[in-house]
Protein backbone atom coordinates (compact mmCIF):
# COMPACT_ATOMS: atom_id res chain seq x y z
CA UNK A 1 0.00 0.00 0.00
CA UNK A 2 1.32 3.42 -0.97
CA UNK A 3 1.58 5.86 1.94
CA UNK A 4 0.61 9.46 1.00
CA UNK A 5 3.48 11.95 1.01
CA UNK A 6 1.94 14.19 3.70
CA UNK A 7 1.45 11.18 6.01
CA UNK A 8 5.03 10.08 5.44
CA UNK A 9 6.31 13.60 6.18
CA UNK A 10 4.15 13.80 9.31
CA UNK A 11 5.48 10.46 10.51
CA UNK A 12 9.09 11.48 9.81
CA UNK A 13 8.47 14.66 11.75
CA UNK A 14 7.25 12.70 14.74
CA UNK A 15 9.90 10.00 14.79
CA UNK A 16 12.55 12.54 13.88
CA UNK A 17 15.96 12.24 12.32
CA UNK A 18 18.29 11.82 15.28
CA UNK A 19 21.42 12.70 13.29
CA UNK A 20 19.98 15.88 11.83
CA UNK A 21 18.47 16.95 15.12
CA UNK A 22 21.78 16.46 16.91
CA UNK A 23 23.22 19.26 14.80
CA UNK A 24 21.13 21.70 16.85
CA UNK A 25 22.50 21.83 20.40
CA UNK A 26 20.00 21.11 23.15
CA UNK A 27 19.06 24.45 24.68
CA UNK A 28 17.64 23.87 28.14
CA UNK A 29 15.76 27.11 28.64
CA UNK A 30 13.86 27.24 25.35
CA UNK A 31 13.14 23.51 25.61
CA UNK A 32 11.66 23.93 29.07
CA UNK A 33 9.78 27.08 28.04
CA UNK A 34 8.23 25.39 25.01
CA UNK A 35 7.15 22.28 26.89
CA UNK A 36 5.79 24.29 29.81
CA UNK A 37 3.87 26.68 27.54
CA UNK A 38 2.38 23.81 25.58
CA UNK A 39 1.37 21.98 28.76
CA UNK A 40 -0.20 25.09 30.35
CA UNK A 41 -2.06 26.01 27.17
CA UNK A 42 -3.34 22.47 26.65
CA UNK A 43 -4.55 22.44 30.26
CA UNK A 44 -6.44 25.71 29.70
CA UNK A 45 -7.71 24.50 26.33
CA UNK A 46 -9.29 21.44 27.98
CA UNK A 47 -11.17 23.74 30.34
CA UNK A 48 -12.19 26.15 27.57
CA UNK A 49 -13.45 23.21 25.55
CA UNK A 50 -15.34 21.78 28.55
CA UNK A 51 -16.82 25.21 29.25
CA UNK A 52 -17.97 25.51 25.67
CA UNK A 53 -19.55 22.06 25.71
CA UNK A 54 -21.27 22.71 29.06
CA UNK A 55 -22.65 26.03 27.77
CA UNK A 56 -23.89 24.24 24.67
CA UNK A 57 -25.64 21.60 26.75
CA UNK A 58 -27.18 24.30 28.94
CA UNK A 59 -28.47 26.20 25.91
CA UNK A 60 -29.96 23.02 24.47
CA UNK A 61 -31.58 22.09 27.77
CA UNK A 62 -33.07 25.53 28.37
CA UNK A 63 -34.21 25.72 24.82
CA UNK A 64 -35.79 22.25 24.92
CA UNK A 65 -37.41 22.43 28.33
CA UNK A 66 -38.78 25.93 27.95
CA UNK A 67 -39.86 25.49 24.38
CA UNK A 68 -42.12 22.54 25.22
CA UNK A 69 -43.92 24.02 28.21
CA UNK A 70 -46.22 27.01 28.70
CA UNK A 71 -48.15 28.37 31.65
CA UNK A 72 -51.72 29.58 31.88
CA UNK A 73 -52.39 32.01 34.69
CA UNK A 74 -55.96 32.37 35.88
CA UNK A 75 -57.19 35.35 37.89
CA UNK A 76 -60.86 35.48 38.77
CA UNK A 77 -63.13 36.44 41.66
CA UNK A 78 -63.21 33.72 44.34
CA UNK A 79 -66.69 32.52 43.35
CA UNK A 80 -65.79 32.05 39.70
CA UNK A 81 -62.37 30.53 40.05
CA UNK A 82 -63.44 26.89 39.96
CA UNK A 83 -65.70 27.40 36.93
CA UNK A 84 -63.09 29.33 35.00
CA UNK A 85 -60.47 26.71 35.83
CA UNK A 86 -62.70 23.94 34.52
CA UNK A 87 -63.43 25.92 31.35
CA UNK A 88 -59.76 26.67 30.79
CA UNK A 89 -58.86 23.02 31.20
CA UNK A 90 -61.63 22.12 28.78
CA UNK A 91 -60.34 24.63 26.22
CA UNK A 92 -56.79 23.40 26.62
CA UNK A 93 -57.56 19.70 26.32
CA UNK A 94 -59.45 20.33 23.10
CA UNK A 95 -56.70 22.49 21.58
CA UNK A 96 -54.66 20.71 18.89
CA UNK A 97 -50.96 20.50 19.83
CA UNK A 98 -51.51 20.44 23.59
CA UNK A 99 -50.31 17.12 24.96
CA UNK A 100 -51.24 17.73 28.56
CA UNK A 101 -52.78 20.47 30.70
CA UNK A 102 -52.35 20.12 34.45
CA UNK A 103 -53.48 22.34 37.29
CA UNK A 104 -50.61 22.98 39.71
CA UNK A 105 -51.44 21.82 43.22
CA UNK A 106 -51.17 24.08 46.27
CA UNK A 107 -48.01 22.26 47.29
CA UNK A 108 -46.42 22.93 43.92
CA UNK A 109 -47.38 26.60 44.08
CA UNK A 110 -45.95 26.76 47.57
CA UNK A 111 -42.70 25.26 46.31
CA UNK A 112 -42.53 27.87 43.56
CA UNK A 113 -42.94 30.72 46.05
CA UNK A 114 -40.72 29.25 48.74
CA UNK A 115 -37.45 30.78 47.44
CA UNK A 116 -38.97 34.27 47.89
CA UNK A 117 -41.25 33.94 50.94
CA UNK A 118 -39.72 31.02 52.80
CA UNK A 119 -41.39 27.77 53.86
CA UNK A 120 -44.88 27.47 55.38
CA UNK A 121 -46.57 30.12 53.24
CA UNK A 122 -50.40 29.81 53.63
CA UNK A 123 -51.11 29.63 49.91
CA UNK A 124 -54.79 28.79 50.37
CA UNK A 125 -55.49 32.02 52.27
CA UNK A 126 -53.79 34.25 49.69
CA UNK A 127 -55.50 35.62 46.57
CA UNK A 128 -53.08 33.89 44.26
CA UNK A 129 -53.84 33.15 40.64
CA UNK A 130 -54.18 29.51 39.61
CA UNK A 131 -51.49 28.09 37.38
CA UNK A 132 -52.00 25.46 34.69
CA UNK A 133 -48.92 23.83 33.20
CA UNK A 134 -49.27 23.09 29.50
CA UNK A 135 -47.05 20.43 27.87
CA UNK A 136 -46.89 20.77 24.13
CA UNK A 137 -46.80 18.08 21.51
CA UNK A 138 -43.78 17.86 19.18
CA UNK A 139 -45.25 20.37 16.69
CA UNK A 140 -46.52 22.76 19.36
CA UNK A 141 -49.82 24.65 19.32
CA UNK A 142 -51.11 27.84 17.75
CA UNK A 143 -50.50 30.32 20.59
CA UNK A 144 -52.37 33.18 18.89
CA UNK A 145 -55.43 30.99 18.25
CA UNK A 146 -55.42 29.69 21.81
CA UNK A 147 -55.17 33.22 23.20
CA UNK A 148 -58.19 34.24 21.12
CA UNK A 149 -60.25 31.28 22.39
CA UNK A 150 -59.24 31.92 25.99
CA UNK A 151 -60.11 35.60 25.72
CA UNK A 152 -63.58 34.62 24.59
CA UNK A 153 -64.22 31.83 27.07
CA UNK A 154 -61.97 32.56 30.08
CA UNK A 155 -61.42 36.35 30.21
CA UNK A 156 -59.13 36.23 33.27
CA UNK A 157 -56.62 33.79 31.68
CA UNK A 158 -53.15 34.86 30.58
CA UNK A 159 -51.13 32.48 28.43
CA UNK A 160 -47.37 32.67 28.92
CA UNK A 161 -45.46 30.58 26.38
CA UNK A 162 -42.10 31.66 27.92
CA UNK A 163 -40.90 33.18 24.64
CA UNK A 164 -40.18 36.56 26.23
CA UNK A 165 -37.67 35.27 28.77
CA UNK A 166 -36.63 32.05 27.03
CA UNK A 167 -34.94 33.81 24.11
CA UNK A 168 -32.48 35.93 26.13
CA UNK A 169 -31.56 32.86 28.24
CA UNK A 170 -30.87 30.72 25.19
CA UNK A 171 -29.00 33.60 23.56
CA UNK A 172 -26.90 34.02 26.72
CA UNK A 173 -26.04 30.33 26.77
CA UNK A 174 -25.17 30.38 23.07
CA UNK A 175 -22.94 33.39 23.67
CA UNK A 176 -21.21 31.56 26.52
CA UNK A 177 -20.55 28.70 24.12
CA UNK A 178 -19.10 31.13 21.56
CA UNK A 179 -16.92 32.66 24.26
CA UNK A 180 -15.59 29.18 25.04
CA UNK A 181 -14.60 28.65 21.42
CA UNK A 182 -13.12 32.15 21.25
CA UNK A 183 -11.05 31.31 24.34
CA UNK A 184 -9.83 28.19 22.54
CA UNK A 185 -8.83 30.25 19.52
CA UNK A 186 -6.99 32.75 21.71
CA UNK A 187 -5.19 29.92 23.48
CA UNK A 188 -4.11 28.55 20.10
CA UNK A 189 -2.91 31.96 18.95
CA UNK A 190 -1.04 32.58 22.22
CA UNK A 191 0.60 29.16 21.93
CA UNK A 192 1.72 30.03 18.42
CA UNK A 193 3.07 33.41 19.55
CA UNK A 194 5.00 31.99 22.49
CA UNK A 195 6.46 29.16 20.44
CA UNK A 196 7.45 31.66 17.74
CA UNK A 197 9.33 33.69 20.37
CA UNK A 198 11.03 30.58 21.76
CA UNK A 199 11.95 29.43 18.24
CA UNK A 200 13.32 32.86 17.34
CA UNK A 201 15.42 32.87 20.51
CA UNK A 202 16.75 29.39 19.67
CA UNK A 203 17.50 30.39 16.06
CA UNK A 204 19.30 33.56 17.18
CA UNK A 205 21.32 31.62 19.75
CA UNK A 206 22.29 29.09 17.10
CA UNK A 207 23.47 31.46 14.35
CA UNK A 208 26.90 29.78 14.44
CA UNK A 209 25.30 26.34 14.03
CA UNK A 210 23.37 27.61 11.00
CA UNK A 211 26.59 29.07 9.54
CA UNK A 212 28.45 25.76 9.95
CA UNK A 213 25.60 23.73 8.50
CA UNK A 214 25.46 26.01 5.48
CA UNK A 215 29.22 25.79 5.10
CA UNK A 216 29.02 22.02 4.74
CA UNK A 217 26.20 22.21 2.19
CA UNK A 218 22.98 22.04 4.23
CA UNK A 219 19.97 23.42 2.41
CA UNK A 220 17.67 25.82 4.24
CA UNK A 221 14.83 23.30 4.34
CA UNK A 222 17.11 20.81 6.12
CA UNK A 223 18.22 23.39 8.72
CA UNK A 224 14.63 24.55 9.25
CA UNK A 225 13.47 20.94 9.68
CA UNK A 226 15.97 20.33 12.46
CA UNK A 227 14.44 23.23 14.45
CA UNK A 228 10.83 22.59 13.43
CA UNK A 229 11.02 18.91 14.38
CA UNK A 230 12.45 19.67 17.77
CA UNK A 231 9.86 22.34 18.64
CA UNK A 232 6.99 20.26 17.29
CA UNK A 233 8.01 17.27 19.39
CA UNK A 234 8.45 19.38 22.53
CA UNK A 235 5.05 21.00 22.01
CA UNK A 236 3.38 17.65 21.40
CA UNK A 237 4.82 16.10 24.55
CA UNK A 238 4.01 19.21 26.64
CA UNK A 239 0.45 19.35 25.28
CA UNK A 240 -0.07 15.65 26.01
CA UNK A 241 0.91 16.22 29.63
CA UNK A 242 -1.28 19.35 29.88
CA UNK A 243 -4.24 17.58 28.32
CA UNK A 244 -3.92 14.63 30.71
CA UNK A 245 -3.73 17.00 33.68
CA UNK A 246 -6.74 18.98 32.43
CA UNK A 247 -8.86 15.87 31.97
CA UNK A 248 -7.86 14.57 35.39
CA UNK A 249 -8.83 17.93 36.94
CA UNK A 250 -12.23 17.79 35.22
CA UNK A 251 -12.81 14.29 36.55
CA UNK A 252 -12.19 15.56 40.08
CA UNK A 253 -15.01 18.15 39.86
CA UNK A 254 -18.20 16.81 41.55
CA UNK A 255 -20.81 15.63 39.04
CA UNK A 256 -24.06 17.45 38.33
CA UNK A 257 -26.12 14.61 39.74
CA UNK A 258 -24.39 15.04 43.08
CA UNK A 259 -24.29 18.80 43.48
CA UNK A 260 -26.25 20.31 40.63
CA UNK A 261 -25.56 23.58 38.83
CA UNK A 262 -23.68 24.80 35.79
CA UNK A 263 -20.14 24.81 37.16
CA UNK A 264 -20.43 21.27 38.49
CA UNK A 265 -21.66 20.22 35.07
CA UNK A 266 -18.35 21.40 33.57
CA UNK A 267 -16.93 18.47 31.70
CA UNK A 268 -17.68 16.11 28.88
CA UNK A 269 -20.24 13.39 28.46
CA UNK A 270 -19.87 10.08 26.66
CA UNK A 271 -17.92 10.36 23.41
CA UNK A 272 -17.34 14.03 24.24
CA UNK A 273 -14.34 12.90 26.29
CA UNK A 274 -12.61 12.16 22.98
CA UNK A 275 -12.61 15.84 22.02
CA UNK A 276 -9.65 16.87 24.24
CA UNK A 277 -7.56 14.25 22.42
CA UNK A 278 -7.54 16.64 19.47
CA UNK A 279 -5.68 19.29 21.50
CA UNK A 280 -2.11 17.82 21.40
CA UNK A 281 -2.08 17.25 17.62
CA UNK A 282 -3.56 20.71 17.09
CA UNK A 283 -0.93 22.23 19.39
CA UNK A 284 1.78 20.35 17.45
CA UNK A 285 0.33 21.72 14.22
CA UNK A 286 0.45 25.26 15.61
CA UNK A 287 4.05 24.71 16.75
CA UNK A 288 4.97 23.30 13.35
CA UNK A 289 3.54 26.32 11.52
CA UNK A 290 4.99 28.85 13.99
CA UNK A 291 8.50 27.37 14.01
CA UNK A 292 8.56 26.84 10.28
CA UNK A 293 7.58 30.47 9.65
CA UNK A 294 10.15 31.74 12.18
CA UNK A 295 12.90 29.50 10.80
CA UNK A 296 12.21 30.35 7.17
CA UNK A 297 12.24 34.07 7.94
CA UNK A 298 15.40 33.84 10.03
CA UNK A 299 17.25 31.81 7.40
CA UNK A 300 16.22 34.28 4.71
CA UNK A 301 17.51 37.16 6.85
CA UNK A 302 20.82 35.39 7.43
CA UNK A 303 21.56 34.90 3.73
Amino acid sequence: MRVPAFARRGWLLLIGDPKAERAVPPSGFTAWLTSFTAAAMAFLAVFAMAFSFAAGRLADRWSDELARTSTLRLSAPAGQMEAQTATALEVLTTTPGVAEARLLSEAEQQALLEPWFGPGLPVASLPLPRLIEIIEEEDGFDAAGLRARLQAEVPGAVLDDHTRWREPLVAAAARLRSLGWLALLLIGASTGAMITLAAQAALAANAQVIRVMRLVGAQDAYIARAFVRRFTQRTLSGALAGMAAGMAALLLIPRTEVAGGFLTGLGFTGAGWLWPLAIPPLAALVAFAATRTAATRRLRDLS
Binding site: R22, A23, P25, P26, R211, V216, G217, Q219, D220, S303
Partner: protein, 224 residues
Protein backbone atom coordinates in the same frame (compact mmCIF):
# COMPACT_ATOMS: atom_id res chain seq x y z
CA UNK B 1 35.43 24.35 -11.82
CA UNK B 2 35.46 27.87 -10.34
CA UNK B 3 35.87 30.90 -12.51
CA UNK B 4 36.03 34.58 -11.57
CA UNK B 5 35.82 37.10 -14.41
CA UNK B 6 36.48 40.81 -13.83
CA UNK B 7 35.14 40.50 -10.33
CA UNK B 8 34.91 43.44 -7.94
CA UNK B 9 33.84 43.44 -4.32
CA UNK B 10 32.94 46.49 -2.28
CA UNK B 11 31.66 46.98 1.20
CA UNK B 12 31.20 49.92 3.53
CA UNK B 13 31.58 52.32 0.62
CA UNK B 14 35.09 51.11 -0.27
CA UNK B 15 36.23 48.77 -3.00
CA UNK B 16 38.25 45.83 -1.71
CA UNK B 17 39.36 44.72 -5.16
CA UNK B 18 38.28 45.14 -8.77
CA UNK B 19 38.68 43.62 -12.21
CA UNK B 20 39.92 40.39 -10.68
CA UNK B 21 39.98 37.24 -12.80
CA UNK B 22 40.91 33.74 -11.69
CA UNK B 23 40.25 30.25 -13.02
CA UNK B 24 40.64 27.19 -10.82
CA UNK B 25 40.93 24.43 -13.38
CA UNK B 26 40.60 20.73 -12.46
CA UNK B 27 43.62 19.29 -10.63
CA UNK B 28 45.37 22.64 -10.21
CA UNK B 29 47.10 23.81 -7.03
CA UNK B 30 47.08 27.52 -6.22
CA UNK B 31 48.44 29.58 -3.38
CA UNK B 32 46.89 32.94 -2.65
CA UNK B 33 49.08 35.39 -0.78
CA UNK B 34 48.93 39.02 0.12
CA UNK B 35 49.03 41.36 3.08
CA UNK B 36 46.44 41.17 5.80
CA UNK B 37 43.25 42.97 4.81
CA UNK B 38 43.95 42.61 1.09
CA UNK B 39 40.82 40.50 0.69
CA UNK B 40 42.08 36.91 0.62
CA UNK B 41 39.25 35.62 2.82
CA UNK B 42 36.68 37.62 0.83
CA UNK B 43 38.02 36.12 -2.39
CA UNK B 44 37.71 32.63 -0.88
CA UNK B 45 34.13 33.38 0.19
CA UNK B 46 33.31 34.45 -3.35
CA UNK B 47 34.67 31.09 -4.50
CA UNK B 48 32.16 29.12 -2.43
CA UNK B 49 29.21 31.47 -2.77
CA UNK B 50 29.09 32.86 0.73
CA UNK B 51 29.51 36.34 -0.75
CA UNK B 52 28.25 37.62 -4.07
CA UNK B 53 30.51 39.85 -6.19
CA UNK B 54 29.42 43.47 -6.57
CA UNK B 55 30.58 43.42 -10.21
CA UNK B 56 31.85 40.84 -12.66
CA UNK B 57 30.90 37.19 -12.72
CA UNK B 58 31.66 34.20 -10.49
CA UNK B 59 30.85 30.84 -12.02
CA UNK B 60 30.63 27.80 -9.77
CA UNK B 61 30.81 24.61 -11.83
CA UNK B 62 29.53 26.49 -14.85
CA UNK B 63 26.71 28.36 -13.14
CA UNK B 64 26.59 32.07 -12.44
CA UNK B 65 26.64 32.37 -8.64
CA UNK B 66 24.47 35.50 -8.80
CA UNK B 67 21.71 33.55 -10.52
CA UNK B 68 21.90 30.54 -8.20
CA UNK B 69 19.25 29.96 -5.54
CA UNK B 70 20.29 29.39 -1.92
CA UNK B 71 19.64 25.68 -2.43
CA UNK B 72 21.77 25.75 -5.58
CA UNK B 73 24.63 27.33 -3.62
CA UNK B 74 24.20 24.66 -0.92
CA UNK B 75 24.47 21.90 -3.53
CA UNK B 76 27.59 23.56 -5.03
CA UNK B 77 29.16 23.66 -1.56
CA UNK B 78 28.92 19.90 -1.37
CA UNK B 79 31.47 19.88 -4.22
CA UNK B 80 33.71 22.39 -2.42
CA UNK B 81 35.53 21.48 0.78
CA UNK B 82 36.32 24.53 2.91
CA UNK B 83 38.92 24.73 5.67
CA UNK B 84 38.66 27.91 7.72
CA UNK B 85 41.37 29.37 9.90
CA UNK B 86 38.95 29.18 12.86
CA UNK B 87 37.69 25.78 11.65
CA UNK B 88 34.01 26.40 12.52
CA UNK B 89 32.82 23.26 14.27
CA UNK B 90 29.66 22.37 16.13
CA UNK B 91 31.20 22.38 19.58
CA UNK B 92 28.56 20.14 21.16
CA UNK B 93 29.26 17.24 18.76
CA UNK B 94 32.29 14.93 18.94
CA UNK B 95 35.00 15.26 16.32
CA UNK B 96 33.83 12.18 14.40
CA UNK B 97 30.30 13.59 14.02
CA UNK B 98 31.67 16.98 12.98
CA UNK B 99 33.75 15.30 10.31
CA UNK B 100 30.72 13.32 9.12
CA UNK B 101 28.43 16.40 9.13
CA UNK B 102 28.59 16.99 5.34
CA UNK B 103 27.43 13.39 4.79
CA UNK B 104 24.65 13.84 7.34
CA UNK B 105 23.25 17.02 5.79
CA UNK B 106 23.49 15.53 2.31
CA UNK B 107 21.67 12.39 3.49
CA UNK B 108 24.51 10.25 2.10
CA UNK B 109 24.51 6.74 3.50
CA UNK B 110 26.90 5.21 0.98
CA UNK B 111 29.91 6.00 3.16
CA UNK B 112 30.02 3.73 6.17
CA UNK B 113 31.61 3.80 9.57
CA UNK B 114 34.78 2.20 8.18
CA UNK B 115 35.22 4.96 5.58
CA UNK B 116 34.87 7.55 8.31
CA UNK B 117 37.36 5.69 10.53
CA UNK B 118 39.83 5.49 7.63
CA UNK B 119 39.54 9.21 7.00
CA UNK B 120 40.00 10.01 10.68
CA UNK B 121 43.07 7.76 10.72
CA UNK B 122 44.40 9.47 7.57
CA UNK B 123 44.43 12.83 9.36
CA UNK B 124 45.80 11.14 12.51
CA UNK B 125 42.86 11.81 14.82
CA UNK B 126 41.75 8.28 15.72
CA UNK B 127 42.39 8.84 19.42
CA UNK B 128 40.61 12.20 19.38
CA UNK B 129 37.52 11.02 17.44
CA UNK B 130 35.22 11.00 20.43
CA UNK B 131 36.49 14.28 21.90
CA UNK B 132 34.70 17.58 21.53
CA UNK B 133 36.30 20.21 19.25
CA UNK B 134 37.20 22.62 22.09
CA UNK B 135 39.33 19.84 23.60
CA UNK B 136 41.58 19.65 20.50
CA UNK B 137 44.83 21.52 19.87
CA UNK B 138 45.12 24.01 16.99
CA UNK B 139 46.77 21.48 14.67
CA UNK B 140 44.26 18.79 15.51
CA UNK B 141 41.39 21.17 14.79
CA UNK B 142 42.90 22.06 11.40
CA UNK B 143 43.27 18.38 10.49
CA UNK B 144 39.71 17.68 11.62
CA UNK B 145 38.53 20.60 9.47
CA UNK B 146 40.46 19.15 6.52
CA UNK B 147 38.90 15.73 7.07
CA UNK B 148 35.43 17.33 7.13
CA UNK B 149 36.29 19.27 3.98
CA UNK B 150 37.22 16.14 2.02
CA UNK B 151 34.69 13.60 3.32
CA UNK B 152 32.31 14.30 0.43
CA UNK B 153 35.16 13.76 -2.07
CA UNK B 154 34.77 17.35 -3.29
CA UNK B 155 36.20 18.57 -6.58
CA UNK B 156 37.71 21.68 -5.00
CA UNK B 157 39.36 22.29 -1.63
CA UNK B 158 39.61 25.86 -0.36
CA UNK B 159 41.82 26.37 2.68
CA UNK B 160 41.90 29.82 4.29
CA UNK B 161 45.06 30.27 6.38
CA UNK B 162 45.00 26.62 7.42
CA UNK B 163 48.37 26.88 9.13
CA UNK B 164 47.76 30.20 10.83
CA UNK B 165 47.58 28.85 14.37
CA UNK B 166 49.86 25.82 14.24
CA UNK B 167 53.55 25.09 14.50
CA UNK B 168 55.89 24.43 11.58
CA UNK B 169 55.89 20.66 11.95
CA UNK B 170 52.11 20.54 11.95
CA UNK B 171 51.99 22.95 8.99
CA UNK B 172 54.20 20.53 7.04
CA UNK B 173 51.92 17.65 7.93
CA UNK B 174 48.84 19.55 6.80
CA UNK B 175 50.58 20.60 3.60
CA UNK B 176 51.45 16.97 2.81
CA UNK B 177 47.77 16.08 3.19
CA UNK B 178 46.76 18.86 0.79
CA UNK B 179 49.43 17.76 -1.72
CA UNK B 180 48.20 14.18 -1.41
CA UNK B 181 44.64 15.34 -2.17
CA UNK B 182 45.87 17.30 -5.19
CA UNK B 183 47.60 14.16 -6.48
CA UNK B 184 44.23 12.45 -6.23
CA UNK B 185 42.97 15.03 -8.74
CA UNK B 186 41.45 17.58 -6.42
CA UNK B 187 41.72 21.29 -7.17
CA UNK B 188 43.33 23.10 -4.23
CA UNK B 189 43.42 26.80 -3.36
CA UNK B 190 45.31 27.75 -0.19
CA UNK B 191 45.22 31.30 1.14
CA UNK B 192 48.30 31.95 3.28
CA UNK B 193 50.93 34.53 4.05
CA UNK B 194 53.37 31.81 5.12
CA UNK B 195 56.07 32.05 2.41
CA UNK B 196 58.10 29.25 3.93
CA UNK B 197 55.13 26.95 3.51
CA UNK B 198 54.76 27.95 -0.15
CA UNK B 199 58.47 27.33 -0.81
CA UNK B 200 58.21 23.94 0.86
CA UNK B 201 55.16 23.07 -1.22
CA UNK B 202 56.79 24.05 -4.51
CA UNK B 203 59.32 21.27 -3.97
CA UNK B 204 56.52 18.71 -3.84
CA UNK B 205 53.83 19.95 -6.18
CA UNK B 206 53.48 22.11 -9.24
CA UNK B 207 51.62 25.16 -8.10
CA UNK B 208 50.79 28.73 -9.04
CA UNK B 209 51.22 31.48 -6.53
CA UNK B 210 48.89 34.46 -6.80
CA UNK B 211 49.39 37.67 -4.90
CA UNK B 212 46.44 39.85 -3.98
CA UNK B 213 47.73 43.33 -3.43
CA UNK B 214 46.61 46.87 -4.14
CA UNK B 215 43.18 45.61 -5.20
CA UNK B 216 44.66 43.45 -7.98
CA UNK B 217 45.55 39.80 -8.35
CA UNK B 218 49.00 39.15 -9.78
CA UNK B 219 50.98 36.05 -10.55
CA UNK B 220 53.90 35.98 -8.12
CA UNK B 221 57.32 35.58 -9.69
CA UNK B 222 60.83 34.42 -8.86
CA UNK B 223 61.00 36.15 -5.49
CA UNK B 224 59.49 33.08 -3.89
Amino acid sequence: MIELSHVAYSYGGGELFSDLSLTLSPGSFHFLTGPSGAGKTTLMKLCYGELIATAGEVRLFGEDARQMSRDGIALARRRIGVVHQDCQFLDHLPVSENIALPLTVAGRKDKGIQDLADLIAWVGLTKQASQLPPELSGGERQRAALARAVIMSPDVILADEPTGNIDWEMSQRLLRLLVELNRMGKTVLVATHDMALIRAAKQEVQSRVLRLTERRLQLAGADL
